[in-house]
C-alpha cells in the first residue's frame, strides 16, 4: 500500500515534469524548487510577465521616421509570431552569418521602421524579445543547423567545448559532466536555453541568453564577449540545438 502510494507519487511527478524533459534533455525547470516552479507557472505572479506586458505595448507603438509599428507588417502577434522563437538563431543570407531574435527585432527597427536600434539588454529590447518569444510558449525548440548554418553551428560547438578563463573550464564541464550535481549551494542545470529571456533571482530582473553566457564566462574568470557578439550568437545556436524538442518557457523563472 505504502509502496504503491510512493510509486504513484513518483509517477505523478514524472508526468508533471514530462513536458520539460525530452529524452535525456532536461529543462532548467526540472532543477527548480517547487516554489520557483509555481512562480513560473502562475501567469500573475511570474515577474517575467511584466516584460510581456511592456513588450505588447511596444509591439503596437509606432516609432521611427517611417511611422510604422511592428503591427504594420506583422499584425496580430499571436498568429504571426507563433513558432518564431523556436527557429532562432537562424542563418541570415543578408548578413552572411547567423541572426538571433534580438538582432532581428533591431533589424526590423532600422530597415522597416527607420528607427534607432535598441541597445542590447535594454528594457525595451528585452520586453519585445520576451513578448515575441512568449507567443511560442509550449512549442518545441527546432533550429536549423544544416546548410549555410552548419559552419556557425560547428563554431558554436567548438566554443562550448573550449576551456577558458582562470578556472580553465568549458561549458561542457559543468553542463554535461556535472549537471544535476551541486556547485556550492546550487544545483547545476544542463544549461538549456528554452526559457530565455529568463527572470533570474540572482539578477533581480530579466536577462537575455547572452547576458547568461557573459555571466557564465565571468564566473570561470574569463573575459566575456560583448552582448550580441558573433561568438555568442553561434553558441546560442549550438545551445538551442542541444535543447531541441524542449518547450519554449519564456519568460522562465530561474535562480
Amino acid at each position: 500500500m505504502l509502496l504503491s502510494a510512493a510509486c504513484l507519487g513518483a509517477r505523478l511527478l514524472a508526468d508533471e515534469l514530462s513536458p520539460y524533459t525530452v529524452e535525456d534533455r532536461r529543462s532548467g525547470y526540472t532543477y527548480l524548487s517547487e516554489d520557483n516552479q509555481r512562480l513560473q507557472d502562475d501567469d500573475f505572479a511570474n515577474p517575467g510577465l511584466l516584460w510581456v506586458e511592456q513588450g505588447r505595448t511596444l509591439w503596437h507603438r509606432a516609432d521611427g521616421t517611417a511611422g510604422m509599428s511592428c503591427t504594420s507588417c506583422h499584425g496580430d502577434a499571436t498568429v504571426s509570431m507563433r513558432g518564431v522563437r523556436t527557429r532562432y538563431p537562424r542563418f541570415d543570407p543578408q548578413r552572411g552569418k547567423l541572426i538571433n531574435l534580438e538582432q532581428q527585432i533591431n533589424r526590423c527597427r532600422e530597415q522597416r521602421m527607420q528607427a534607432l536600434p535598441y541597445p542590447y539588454e535594454s528594457e525595451a529590447l528585452l520586453a519585445l524579445t520576451t513578448f515575441v518569444s512568449w507567443q511560442s510558449r509550449g512549442l518545441p525548440m527546432h533550429v536549423s543547423i544544416d546548410g549555410p548554418a552548419q559552419p556557425f553551428f560547428e563554431a558554436g560547438r567548438a566554443f562550448y567545448m573550449q576551456r577558458r578563463g582562470q578556472l580553465d573550464l568549458a561549458c561542457t564541464h559543468c553542463h554535461d559532466q556535472y549537471a544535476g550535481q551541486r556547485l556550492r549551494g546550487d544545483v547545476i542545470s544542463q544549461g538549456q536555453s528554452n526559457g530565455f529571456p529568463i527572470y533570474r533571482h540572482t539578477w533581480q530582473t530579466l536577462g537575455s541568453t547572452h547576458r547568461m553566457f557573459a555571466w557564465c564566462n565571468t564566473s570561470v574568470r574569463a573575459e566575456p564577449y560583448p552582448l550580441g557578439a558573433d561568438e555568442y550568437v553561434n553558441l546560442e545556436l549550438f545551445v538551442a540545438w542541444r535543447g531541441r524538442g524542449l518547450p519554449v518557457e519564456t519568460p522562465a523563472v530561474r535562480r
Binding site: 500573475f44 505572479a45 515577474p47 510577465l49 511584466l50 516584460w51 506586458e53 511592456q54 533581480q204 530582473t205
Partner: protein
C-alpha cells in the same frame, strides 16, 4: 515601467474573505549596492503600500530595503460591499503608482 498588476475576484459573497494579489515593477535599490564604477547606488525603494476599499483603508504595509525587486504581495480582506479597491505604492522619489479594481458583493 510596466503598469502595476492586481488580481481581485470580480464577485464575492458578503462577509467572505477574499484574496488579493499585487505585483509591481520596481528596482528596489537597497542603497548598499555599487554600480560598475564603484559608486554607491542611492536607496530607491517603495516604502509604503496601501489598499483602500471605498475610501476606507483596509491594508497598509511599510516596506524596507531588504525587499526584492518587483515586489509581489498577497493579502486578504473581507468583502463588505460592492465598490472600488484602490492600491497605492509610494517610493523614495515621491512617485505614487496607483491602480484600481472593481468588486461586486452579492
Amino acid at each position: 515601467m510596466a503598469e502595476p498588476r492586481v488580481r481581485v475576484p470580480s464577485t464575492a459573497k458578503k462577509g467572505e474573505s477574499i484574496e488579493i494579489k499585487t505585483l509591481i515593477s520596481h528596482p528596489m535599490d537597497s542603497g548598499h549596492n555599487r554600480d560598475v564604477y564603484g559608486r554607491l547606488i542611492p536607496r530607491y525603494i517603495i516604502h509604503t503600500f496601501t489598499c483602500t476599499y471605498n475610501g476606507e483603508e483596509v491594508f497598509r504595509a511599510d516596506w524596507h530595503p531588504a525587499i526584492a525587486a518587483n515586489p509581489y504581495l498577497t493579502f486578504y480582506t473581507v468583502a463588505t460591499e460592492s465598490g472600488r479597491l484602490r492600491f497605492e505604492w509610494s517610493d523614495d522619489k515621491g512617485t505614487v503608482y496607483a491602480t484600481e479594481a472593481e468588486i461586486t458583493v452579492v
